[in-house]
Amino acid sequence: MSTLKILNGNQTIAEAARQIDPDVIAAYPITPSTAIVETIAQFRADGQISGEFVCPESEHSAMSVCIGAAAAGGRVMTATSSQGLALMWEMLYIAAGLRLPIVAAIANRSLSAPINIHGDHSDTMGARDAGWIQIYSENCQEAYDNFVQAFRIAEHLDVRTPVLVGLDGFIISHSSEVVQIEDEGEVKKFIGEYKPLYPLLDTSRKLTVGSIDFTDYYFEHKRNQIEGIENSPRVIEEIGKEFGKKFGRPYSFFEEYRMEDAELCIVVMSSAAGTGKDAVDELRSQGKKIGLLKPRVFRPFPHERIAEALKKMKAVAVLDRSSSPGAFGAPLFTEIRSALYDSSQRPKVVNYVYGLGGRDIKVEHFKEVAANLEKIAATGKVDEMRGYLNLRE
């Protein structure tokens, strides 16, 4: 039976982990994801999970343990944040290169310097080319739903690629909400039994994992790796629909909010989308034709679908909770602008960096963006392609 529980984001992920009960959980605590690890450790101590819980000396080691355990044939997960994810860098690429379906919950947080423990997307955006599937969550419910689906996506035979699920540090990780926790048996049934392809623990077969490739094979192996994530859109879509049928909350690549007849659109991921929807409601009540698009899957990037959804807009603002210093724009913006390049119609697209280091984004800031979009739509002119929201200038 599904139950309603009051949980914060960290407890929600831990609860999902308890239900799924992976063979191995290896993690090193770091703010703001510490409570995921702490709660899981408590579950282990209380005998509520049967999998191994390993707490090694660093995140680099935690991901190394995950890789070893997954290569051995286990269903494996971890959780981390910020510098912790940064310390995993080297191993993230190896997990993806070895096509190990590891699932990681990331409480999205800024990177140093300056030291800051609050939420933004710098950590996972930094890992965007590591070969992991990236799914972002607006609230605790989505964090739970995404985390459950992540195992199915990662373990699908056409995909076999690690998945990370982002939830905004503190804003989601530490805020309590009512979360619908599904029946444990049904969750287990939805996930199914994991069958590793070439488990090292199967000693009847001699094989090597991760041996050296020189110029004659590296390129082919990398292309072989890319195929997994290239296959994933169909799988992500199917599993999102199946999840919807079973639990009543269907998922796709992005959510469109009040986009039916919209001429202006704000694109924003994760928790800020909630605030954005409130702003859209207010602006709609004033008769403004504005909508919001919330990307859920960032890797693989659903470029065709997003271009289709945005091409008829007059003006689009893409809000990024990370920066890419020296780049043409922040990560989400460059993807979207590039996605629109081949469209028959192209809206004006501007970029705002917001919320770095946990800086608030409020309804008034979305209104500021909307006012600029109105101006761009009316004049057809863009004064500044890139800007910053709620920054002291």
């Binding site: 070895l98 070439y198 077969r205 094989l207 090597t208 994992v209 041996s211 082919e220 072989n224």
Partner: protein, 104 residues
């Protein structure tokens, strides 16, 4: 040997022919010096066998008898680690014969 296309490769860099590095003749990396075995000084301590990174110490009938030059990279670790008073392994100059390339 025909090399596989990316579609023909096993997922996740899995190599189903474990041990096939035996076909990789690392001896072709040697450049200018090679170890030489001086049997009369050898006390059969097996230090060279233990330290050799390429398993290039030849052992026959339980005794070190020399080197598998097809795999010896000429790194000199064996000579360095050899503990006998008069060295049982010394590094000597080697002329590189271009005809001794990788086996096809």
């Amino acid at each position: 040997m025909k090399k596989e296309t990316w579609k023909e490769l096993t997922i996740g860099t899995i190599n189903l022919e474990a041990g096939n590095s035996v076909s990789n003749l690392t001896g072709t990396w040697r450049s200018g010096r090679k170890p030489e075995f001086i049997e009369k000084n050898c006390i059969q301590c097996f230090f060279c066998w233990l330290y050799c990174p390429h398993f290039a110490i030849r052992v026959e009938g339980g005794k070190v008898t020399g080197f598998k030059y097809n795999y010896c990279t000429g790194c000199g670790l064996c000579a360095e680690e050899c503990p006998t008073k008069e060295k049982s392994i010394v590094m000597v100059k080697e002329e590189i014969k271009l005809t001794e390339g990788r086996k096809k």
